[in-house]
Symmetry: C2
Subunit: 254 residues, 2 copies
Amino acid sequence: MLIVNIANQKGGVGKTTTAISLASGLAMKGKKTLLVDMDPQANATSGLGINLKELNKTIYNVLVGVSDINSCIITTDIENLSLLPSTQDLVGAEIELVPMEHREKKLLYTLKNLSGLDYVIIDCPPSLGLLTLNAMVACRYIIVPLQCEYYALEGLAHLIKTIKIVKKELNPQLDIMGILLTMYDARNNLSKIVYEDVITHFGKKVFKTVIPRNVRLSETPSYGMPIYRFDNTSKGALSYQGFVEEFITRSGYN
Amino acid sequence: MLIVNIANQKGGVGKTTTAISLASGLAMKGKKTLLVDMDPQANATSGLGINLKELNKTIYNVLVGVSDINSCIITTDIENLSLLPSTQDLVGAEIELVPMEHREKKLLYTLKNLSGLDYVIIDCPPSLGLLTLNAMVACRYIIVPLQCEYYALEGLAHLIKTIKIVKKELNPQLDIMGILLTMYDARNNLSKIVYEDVITHFGKKVFKTVIPRNVRLSETPSYGMPIYRFDNTSKGALSYQGFVEEFITRSGYN
Ligand SMILES: Nc1ncnc2c1ncn2[C@@H]1O[C@H](COP(=O)(O)OP(=O)(O)OP(=O)(O)O)[C@@H](O)[C@H]1O
Ligand SMILES: Nc1ncnc2c1ncn2[C@@H]1O[C@H](COP(=O)(O)OP(=O)(O)OP(=O)(O)O)[C@@H](O)[C@H]1O
Ligand SMILES: [Mg+2]
Ligand SMILES: [Mg+2]
């Protein structure tokens, strides 16, 4: 079982879109995959068409409560893809976890109760607080979606510094699997500048697949389905399919 | 002195771009304005060309430490615009504030030590944690930038619910001044659908000015200046100038 985290404290860079596209892409290739939604916005949950109001148990019950993770996981319309859903109440967890013992290891201990899975993909909120920290302590790899814009690039150094500290203090197996460039717009110079800059600094750590800006990717969440089901011939679907292939190679699984 | 908060827990919707464009627009009209950067990403600080490494004191010293706010405020190269800068260390404040008394009122008490200002504009991080809560308790109005996309629209109900609770429990004078539609792309249907939906539900609460998607707005932060200095004839600059006018009318100040 390989645990991978999709993280970046910069908001709106494509974390959820990448988490859903990767998890569903792996499931459609027959890999048993669990998507964990660690964001109080619960976008990964609604992006798969799940109605938040119908959920009895969520990740909140697992992190702050005493529920067993297996009683909170639900199936989705996609074969081989299951989901640990989020809730807006999770926003309180960041405060409730603070006084607890092993507050940054709650997710790590919970995921140990899972079996029969090939991959666990974790979608993170846009912050470096206790929820993202829990995900960084629990995972083997981090994938960093990077929007081709200035503020996103600026925040990268801080994210990498944080990952190094977590690796040294809490999770020695932690590594960045790669940086995925998202919302690349070939018509605009800024995208090219950011792309060149990232390749120069991070070389092989940058996924060869670049995700273009593609309106179908922003439309698909309103239909509650991954891009492959919404418009399988779109540039968005094709680029994420390429990313899933590259991910499988980098993860060393076949 | 009117205190206004730019907030939305959804990431990447244009909070910082709106905060900088509003604060600098007001200053250029001769209003004494302070921009408060409450985000550990410190984008409002770097977006005004300030080098984070050269800062001795920041908002961290004010919220968690014991420094007087007036000793932490710096001038910018825009006349009438001053800044309370942020730092990446602010990410620790969310945890350090939890055990403190009046943890949600730290900013409120601090801003009481200010004088000689017409406006205070607060840029918030993409979350509903203690930093954003402090800003909601301290302000009179909230402006909600709303990206014309599905996930952003979905999060609006949760944001409004949270604002109602803060108004009832902590800050009775709190109101939403308005919802500002951002990154509107006339070529794409989704923008029109979101626009219609918001107007139907929120009517007059929606600013008449709509901010179009404009590449100059994503380029300007890398030059460390507000849009008016970078490209004053761009669609981005013209639409934000219209917004500043509308803001002055709605705020009742002249
Ligand atoms: N390649 C793309 N092209 C066009 N739109 C995209 C693309 N990727 C994502 N989007 C849209 O951009 C917005 C931001 O993406 P998304 O919500 O996945 O980012 P995020 O990093 O998860 O945001 P947050 O920081 O709020 O969690 C969404 O409305 C999404 O539908
Ligand atoms: N109208 C616009 N057109 C094009 N790009 C824009 C526009 N407004 C903002 N941007 C760019 O989009 C990105 C997101 O905007 P911004 O950083 O202001 O959002 P935010 O809500 O402050 O993000 P965060 O949630 O991370 O704080 C930035 O790179 C910014 O330069
Ligand atoms: Mg997300
Ligand atoms: Mg911002």
